[in-house]
């Protein structure tokens, strides 16, 4: 009986090993280092996208989710293979400086201005710029990321468009934290904040914040994928990076993106954009 058991075990192990080794194609350099912004992780999109990518290609993704500022720095120092982020101006500079190649449009979602339902500054339905002017004039509390993330950069651009500089005002709070934590603080402080819609929807259940301003073309949040330049950093997994960029811009990847969140929130969190041009989305 002991022998039979052993035999069964061996057969089982061999079968498992065989299954494990042929269930996915195994590329030469199986590890792929993806640096992405916190918004894609906080919303849960990458949890849906990455396993599908691994199944399809066999690459094992190591994901580092950080603010856009840090993501670009990490890429600049060659500590990433591929980057997924939403700071178009900084991205263009990154590619122009020879640090990245093969920048492709992936998807967009949009920013919204959220605040307490009581809306003390009266910004509901206003344009983003008018809303900020109202907030500034009424000294209502506004919570900023203050971390040079893509969202923070967008917020500062909005203030600039409004011709205002809120820095140093006592009603202007800079958290230096991710979107989720910043929304929690805004909710606790009955304050306004700029956020991407995805993170807001994912956290909405725990927040006492409503969407007050939305739908302005200036509030689009566009994501690109960039490969770190292998000529500068030879250790970059170029094949893996290309496979990733191919996958998330493929029909399969775009379908996952377009369907993500529909079941849970009744609306997609991201709109797939592969194949479109920047200009079609109103980017410079």
């Amino acid at each position: 009986m002991g022998f039979e058991m052993k035999k069964t075990t061996i057969v089982l192990l061999v079968t498992l090993f065989f299954l494990a080794s042929c269930s996915a194609p195994s590329p030469q350099h199986a590890d792929l280092l993806l640096v992405s912004t916190t918004s894609t992780q906080d919303s849960g999109l990458l949890d849906a996208l990455l396993p599908a990518f691994t199944n399809r290609t066999g690459y094992n993704i190591q994901l580092v989710a950080v603010g856009s500022g840090q993501a670009l720095k990490i890429g600049e120092q060659g500590n990433a293979d591929v980057i997924l982020l939403h700071s178009p101006a900084a991205e263009k500079e990154f590619v122009a400086n020879g640090l990245g190649i093969d920048r492709r449009l992936v998807m967009h979602n949009d920013f919204v201005i959220v605040g307490p339902a009581s809306d003390p500054a009266g910004i509901r339905g206003k344009s983003p710029v008018d809303a900020l002017k109202q907030i500034y004039a009424s000294h209502a509390t506004f919570v900023s990321r203050g971390d040079e993330s893509g969202t923070n950069v967008k917020e500062l651009a909005l203030w600039k468009n409004a011709g205002l500089d809120p820095a140093g005002q006592d009603w202007y709070l800079e958290t230096g934290q991710g979107q989720g934590a910043t929304l929690s603080i805004a909710s606790e402080k009955n304050a306004y904040a700029l956020t991407d819609r995805g993170t807001y929807l994912a956290y909405r259940a725990n927040l006492e914040l409503d969407i007050l301003v939305e739908g302005d073309p200036f509030l689009l949040n566009v994501y690109h994928v960039i490969t770190v330049n292998p000529e500068k950093w030879p250790k970059v997994n170029l094949e893996g990076a290309k496979a990733f960029a191919d996958f998330i811009t493929s029909a399969e990847g775009q379908k996952i993106i377009g369907e993500f969140g529909v079941k849970e929130y009744g609306q997609p969190l991201f709109i797939p954009d592969a194949g479109k041009t920047d200009a079609e989305l109103g980017l410079p």
Binding site: V66, I74, G146, D147, L173, E174, T175, G176, Q177, E188
Partner: protein, 217 residues
């Protein structure tokens, strides 16, 4: 960086918050540790184990607990303490008082038990006896204080969670380091790290000088 007033405001806040938390921990931990070391009661070793476990409390767990208490949805939400320096002090006290308590108990238990009997035999009151024991154990007691301070000046998880890292209000050295790293400003992050270490060193140096002066007596 050193000429930036914001850096000094952050440094001062770190010292104030962690200094106050350490002081409160001392006020709680010294009597509690003494009671644990000298008292005879049921469940003493259980309580000791609880305190010793508390010495290794993960700051982020403490932060989560304090945040749950202080959020508007929590039982103490009406106090409006969340995202204030007071909230950080509360969390840091929870982190550091078990350290002070546990090390105080260990310091007093390391004393020769006959000393206590002798003091009582010489007619000392309980209060006099405890004061004499503290005096006798002053070196390890100061070490307990330094360990308590070291635990809170260096923690980031709780400060981030209950303080919110709000610029000019609750941003301390450790949370600024996380932020600057997040921005990719590694040079500033390293500078702040060196500043933090320098300050911790200076505080511990001052305490050590007091401690060693005590040793010579």
């Amino acid at each position: 960086m050193l000429f930036d007033p914001e850096v000094w405001q952050i440094t001062l806040l770190s010292l104030e918050v962690s200094g106050l938390a350490t002081l409160i921990s001392l006020v709680i931990g010294l009597p509690l540790g003494t009671w644990l070391a000298l008292g005879k009661f049921h469940g003493r070793s259980l309580l000791m184990s609880v305190v010793n476990t508390g010495m290794g409390l993960p700051p982020v767990v403490v932060g989560l607990f304090v945040a749950l208490m202080l959020w508007r949805s929590g039982p103490f939400g009406d106090l409006k303490l969340i995202y204030t320096p007071a909230a950080i002090v509360i969390a840091q006290v929870i982190i550091s008082f078990p350290v002070v308590t546990g090390l105080t108990a260990a310091a007093l238990q390391a004393l020769d038990p006959r000393l206590r009997l002798q003091l009582l035999g010489l007619g000392a009151s309980t209060a006099q006896m405890v004061l004499m024991l503290w005096r006798e154990a002053r070196l390890p007691l100061l070490a307990a204080l330094m360990a308590g301070f070291g635990a809170v000046i260096s923690e980031v998880g709780a400060s981030m969670m209950v303080g919110g890292n709000i610029r000019g209000q609750t941003r301390v050295l450790t949370t600024s380091i996380v932020l600057e790293t997040g921005k990719g400003n590694f040079d500033i992050a390293i500078g702040l790290g060196v500043l933090l270490l320098t300050i911790t060193f200076l505080v511990n140096w001052a305490l050590t000088v007091i401690q060693q002066r005590g040793a010579k007596r």
